[in-house]
Symmetry: C2
Subunit: 593 residues, 2 copies
C-alpha cells in the first residue's frame, strides 16, 4: 500500500543534528517531519560532550536548564606525564575551558541518549514525534530551474519505507535535510564526496563506573604515559569515560574496510591498557562496562553541504574527526542551528531563497577549521611524551599551550562567520570588543522598569526573529534623547514597517543610571512592552551588571545599533545615524512587505 503526502521540510536522521533541526523548525511553527532508521533512540555511549557555546545555543531554545541539571560539569583539566620514578605523576591542573567570555565556563557531559531525550520531549510538546523505524529508499531532486528557485515549490521527491508497518510512502518536500550520520545515505545518494583521509591513530573507548584511588578521576585528564596516551572524561552520575590509545599490535585492522576487527579486541583489553597507563594508581570498574568502541581516527569534510539549496546535509554526514576534543555533537547541532532560521525565513516568505547559500558558506568553512584543529590536537595527544630518553616527544608546555590556544575554537565561543550577505562588518570599529560575525557576548543588564537583572542572551531567544539592540547612549541627556527619538522614527519607517514587525524584536539599552531615568522616557516604538528597555547599571545589591558599554566597547554617550541574527550571531553594527545602512543590510536578503 502506498500513500503520497507533502511536507515543507523532511529531516532524515534523528541524531543531534536532525533533532536540533526538527525541534527548531517545529517551535517556529514550520511544517516538518523527521524520520530515523533506528526503532529506538540511542541509550548509551556515543557522543557525550557539550561545549560552552553549545550550552548557550541550547539555552536560546529553552533546553539548557535540563542539560545542566542532568549532566556532569567539567571545570578542571589535569595533566599527567611519566614520572622519573616510573608510572605517571601530575604535572599541572588548569581550567578545562579557555574562553574568557563563555557564559558557562565549563563543559557538560551527558550521554547522547539523554541529550536526544531533551529534544524529543520538547518536540513532543509541539506535537512532533520521530517517525521510526523508517528509511528513505529514493530521493530525487527536480532539474527544473524555476521550480528549484520557487520557495513554494516541492522539488524533492522521497520514497520512505516504514519498516515496522512494512508500508511505503511517497513524499514531496520543499526542502530535505540529511542528518543521517557518517555513513549518510543522503550524501551517498547525492554523490557528494568526502575529502580527507584516515590517520594511523587507533583508540579504544570504555564507559564505566570506576573504583580508583586516582585523585583526578572527576576531572578531564590528559595522560601521557610511556604505555601510551589516555584521556579521562568524567560523566553524569559516577560514570567515567576512558579514551585509551592502542597500538597496531593490540588490534587487527581489516585491510579491505580499514575498520578495526572487534572480534579480536574488546573492552577488557582496553581496560587492561588503561590500568597499565595509570600506574601507580589503581583503577577498576564497578559492575559492567556500559558501552565501548574501538576506532581509527578519520578526518574528512564533505565537498558540498547542499544540492541547489533544496537538499542539505548536516552533522556527521558532512564531517568526521577525532571524538576526543568533544566536538562532534557540537558541530552537528550547530550546523542545523545555523540552518533552522534560514529555512524558516524562506518558507515564510520573509527572505529570498538565496539566503540558504550562506549555510554551506558558513558551516563548511567551520568544518574545515575543525579538521585543521583536530589534526594538530590529535597529533599532539597521540604523540609520545617527552622524557629523558625521548627528547623529541611532546612536552607538557607544548601540549598545554596547544590545549589553551585551541580553547576559543574548541569551546565554540570563537566561531567567527566571514562577511557575506548576512555578516556586514563595515562599522566594526564602533563596537570595539564585539566582533561582527561572532556570537553576541553574554552580559548582564538591568531592566529599566523594575531593576531586575537579566542576562542579555536570555532576551535574545532563538525564535527566528532578528534582534535590534539599540544601545541608546545616555538617555538622561536631552540632546541624546532627541537623537534616539529621531532614530526611532526612522527605524519605524525604514525597517520595521518595510520588512514587517514580526521579523524583529527591538530592545533598547540606555547607559543612564537607574535613579536618573524611567522606562517611559523612551519613544513608544522602542517599547512594545515595558520589559524592552534595559539599563547599563548594577542591580540593587551591586551583585551584578554595570559597565556593559565598556565591556562591549561602545561609546556610552553616543550609543550604537547592534543587529543580532536569529541564531545569536552579530550580523551588523552601525552608528545611530546610519539607519539607511541597516536598511540596506536587511534589503540584501529580506523581502519588503
Amino acid at each position: 500500500m502506498a500513500s503520497e503526502s507533502r511536507v515543507d521540510v523532511l529531516i532524515i536522521g534523528a541524531g543531534p543534528a536532525g533533532l536540533m533541526c526538527a525541534h527548531g523548525l517545529v517551535k517556529a511553527g514550520i511544517n516538518v517531519r523527521i524520520v530515523d532508521q533506528r526503532s529506538k533512540q540511542v541509550l548509551a555511549g556515543q557522543a557525550d560532550g557539550i561545549q560552552p557555546r553549545t550550552i548557550e545555543v541550547l539555552q536560546s531554545y529553552g533546553l539548557a536548564e535540563r542539560l545542566l541539571k542532568e549532566g556532569n560539569h567539567i571545570h578542571m583539566a589535569a595533566f599527567y606525564n611519566p614520572s622519573p620514578n616510573g608510572g605517571i605523576e601530575r604535572t599541572d591542573r588548569a581550567p578545562d575551558v579557555t574562553a574568557p567570555t563563555a557564559r558557562y565556563p565549563f563543559k557538560v557531559t551527558l550521554h547522547q541518549g539523554a541529550i536526544e531525550t531533551i529534544f524529543l520531549d520538547s518536540m513532543r510538546e509541539q506535537g512532533l514525534e520521530v517517525d521510526r523505524p523508517t528509511i528513505p529508499t529514493l530521493l530525487e531532486l527536480s532539474t527544473d530551474e524555476s521550480e528549484l528557485k520557487d520557495a513554494n515549490a516541492y522539488p524533492v521527491k522521497v520514497v520512505l519505507k516504514h519498516l515496522e508497518k512494512d508500508t511505503t510512502e511517497t513524499l514531496r518536500a520543499k526542502f530535505v535535510v540529511g542528518s543521517d550520520g557518517a555513513h549518510s545515505w543522503v550524501r551517498k545518494t547525492l554523490k557528494i564526496t568526502m575529502d580527507g583521509e584516515h590517520t594511523e591513530y587507533i583508540w579504544g573507548v570504555v564507559d564505566m563506573i570506576p573504583k580508583t584511588n586516582f585523585p583526578d578521576i572527576r576531572n578531564r585528564c590528559a595522560i601521557h604515559s610511556n604505555n601510551g596516551s589516555c584521556m579521562i572524561i568524567p560523566r553524569e552520575g559516577d560514570k567515567v569515560r576512558l579514551y585509551v590509545q592502542l597500538s597496531h599490535k593490540d588490534v587487527h585492522v581489516d585491510p579491505k574496510t580499514g575498520r578495526v576487527d572487534r572480534t579480536k579486541c574488546g573492552p577488557e583489553q582496553v581496560m587492561e591498557v588503561a590500568k597499565k597507563s595509570l600506574k601507580p594508581y589503581d583503577i577498576d570498574k564497578v559492575g559492567k562496562i556500559h558501552w565501548w568502541t574501538i576506532y581509527i581516527i578519520g578526518q574528512r569534510v564533505a565537498s558540498q553541504f547542499s544540492i541547489h539549496e533544496r537538499v542539505f546535509i548536516a552533522g556527521d554526514a558532512c564531517h568526521t574527526h577525532s571524538p576526543k576534543a568533544g566536538q562532534g555533537m557540537n558541530a552537528s547541532m550547530n550546523d542545523t542551528h545555523n540552518l533552522v532560521w534560514k529555512l524558516a525565513h524562506v518558507l515564510r516568505g520573509w527572505a529570498d531563497i538565496s539566503l540558504l547559500k550562506t549555510y554551506e558558506f558558513e558551516r563548511r568553512q567551520y568544518a574545515q577549521d575543525l579538521i585543521d584543529f583536530d589534526k594538530t590536537f590529535s597529533a599532539l595527544f597521540s604523540g609520545k611524551p617527552r622524557t629523558n630518553d625521548n627528547q623529541n616527544g611532546v612536552s607538557h608546555e607544548e601540549f598545554l599551550k596547544a590545549f589553551q590556544t585551541s580553547g576559543a575554537f574548541s569551546s565554540g565561543i570563537g566561531i567567527h562567520y566571514s562577511p557575506s550577505m548576512i555578516v556586514q562588518n563595515t562599522y566594526q570599529t564602533v563596537v570595539r570588543n564585539q566582533t561582527v560575525g561572532m556570537r553576541i557576548l553574554p552580559y548582564v543588564f538591568i531592566r529599566a522598569a523594575d531593576a531586575r537583572p537579566y542576562e542579555l542572551q536570555d532576551l535574545l531567544p532563538a525564535d527566528t526573529r532578528f534582534k535590534i539592540l539599540l544601545f541608546a547612549g545616555n538617555t538622561a541627556n536631552p540632546s541624546q534623547l532627541d537623537r534616539v527619538n529621531i532614530l526611532a522614527e526612522n527605524m519605524e519607517q525604514k525597517v520595521l514597517k518595510k520588512f514587517g514587525r514580526d521579523v524583529f524584536d527591538v530592545i533598547s539599552i540606555s547607559s543612564a543610571q537607574k535613579d536618573k531615568v524611567n522606562y517611559t522616557d523612551l519613544p513608544e516604538v522602542l517599547r512594545s512592552h515595558w520589559s524592552k528597555v534595559l539599563l547599563d547599571d548594577v542591580d540593587m545589591f551591586q551583585r551584578t551588571g554595570g559597565k556593559g558599554y565598556a565591556y562591549y566597547g561602545i561609546d556610552s554617550e553616543q550609543g550604537v545599533i547592534v543587529i543580532v541574527r536569529p541564531d545569536g550571531y552579530v550580523g551588523m553594527v552601525s552608528p545611530l545615524e546610519k539607519i539607511e545602512d541597516v536598511e540596506a543590510y536587511f534589503a540584501g536578503f529580506l523581502t519588503p512587505i
Copy 2:
C-alpha cells in the same frame, strides 16, 4: 456508609501551610493525608508575596526554580509623597529587600493558586493528592497520658465528611495539623483563643492589568498622598495589585461582625480612590478586575500552637495581621517547614516526642514578633504624610528608616530561634558571622574532586537529615590533617554510629587551595561520596567562591564543626576537639540506636 482508617499525620486545610506540611512529609516517606473543604484550589487573588528566606526554603525542597520562573521579581521600591504642586511626586527609590545576606535579594509575587500548584504537582509525583471537598466534623484527643506520650499511638480521632461522595469516615491519627485558615475549625474545636485586636485601618485591594503612564508601575511603591495611602505590588505577567487605604466614610462596617459590608463598596470604588491618589499620573485597568477584597486589619496570635503536641495549628489559624508587608503566606509556610522534620524524626523513632515542643516555642515567638512588626509598619503606612500643613505626619525619612530596619525581619532572613534543646550556642564565638539559631548563610564553595562551584545551601536540602559541616581547616598542613583524622574517628564512634548514619549527612570544607590538595586526602568517613568534600577557593575562572571561612568568621587553620538542622537553621557550632559536646547536643533529643 462509614469507614475507619489510620494515618500517621492528618492535615486539615490545603493552603500554603497545609501544602508545605503535606509535601514535606510525603517527600520524607511519611504516611500522611491532607483534606480541604474547597472543591477546587484557589485560582486568583489571596496571598501572593514570597520573601527571600521563603525562596531559600522552597529551594531546599526543590521547588524554587519553578517559582522563580513563573513569578515576578521585585527588586526596587519607590516612594511617593505629596508634591508641592498638588498630586504626588517620587521622593526616592531603594532596594525592595534590605537583607545583605539574602541568597535571592528580591521578592517574588505570584498568585496563591500558582504557588499551591507547585506543591500539588510535586506531591502528585510522590503519590499524594488533596482529598476534597472534605470537612472534619469531629476531633477528639485521648486524655490517656501514656497514649499521648507514645509516638506509636493513635490518640486523635477525627470524623471526616466527604462532601461530594456524601460519605463519612472515622480516622485515627498519630498527629493532626490544623492549617485551616483564619477561621480555623480546628482551633475553635480545640478552644484555643486568639489574643489581640482589630485596628481602625480599612484597606481595599484590586488585582488587574493596568494601563498607565506611572513610571514605577513595575516597582513596589509606597505612596503617601493627601488622598490616603496606596501600595503598588507588581505581579506575574503584566498584572499589578493595588492596596488602597479607605476611610470610614467610604465603607460601611457591620457593627455586629466587625466586617466590611461588601454590598456597599466594591472594586470600582477602590479603583476610583486609587486614581485620585495617583494624580498627576493616570491609571486605568485593561479588561476586568481579576480579584478584589476590602478588609480591616486584625493583629492576633493564638494563645497555644498545639494541644499536647498531638494536634497542632499552623498558618493563618494561629496568626492574622496586615497583608501589606507580604508576610502571611511566608509565615504560614515557615510554620510547617519548622514542624515537618520534627514530626518525621519522632515518627521514625529517631527523636523523642518532646522534640515537638520546640514547634510552639519557636513559631509562637516568631508570630508575636510578626505582630509587633506589623503594628509599627501598618501605623506608619496608614498614617498621614508629613506636609507643610501637617507637620505631625509621617516623614519620608521616618518611613524609609522603618522600611529598611525592618528588612531583616520582613525578608525572613533575620529569623532567629532562641536557645532550646535544638539550639545550643555555647561556642558561638568560634563562628563569628554565623549566628546559631539563624539560617545557614548561603555561600559558594567548590568541590575538591572537580572544582565545580556549589552554593552551600544546595548541598543542605530539606531531606530531614542533620548536616554536619566540618570546616576542616587547612588540610594541606599535615598536623591539621592529623586533627581531622582523629576527629573523624571520634565522630564515627560518638555520633554517626551512636545515633545512626541515616540521620546525618557529613560534608567537609577544607580551607586549602585546589592545586594543593586532593579529595582523596581526607579520611573515608568524611567522604561517603566523592562529592562530599568542598574547598574554600575560587572557581577556575575566578568568577565565584573563595574567602568563605572569612565570610562565616571561621579560623582558616583550625576549622570548626557547624551543625545545620534539617530546616536549614544552625543548631550548634563547636571546635573540632569538642565532639563530646556535639554528642551531648544530639543526645538531648535523638535516641541512640
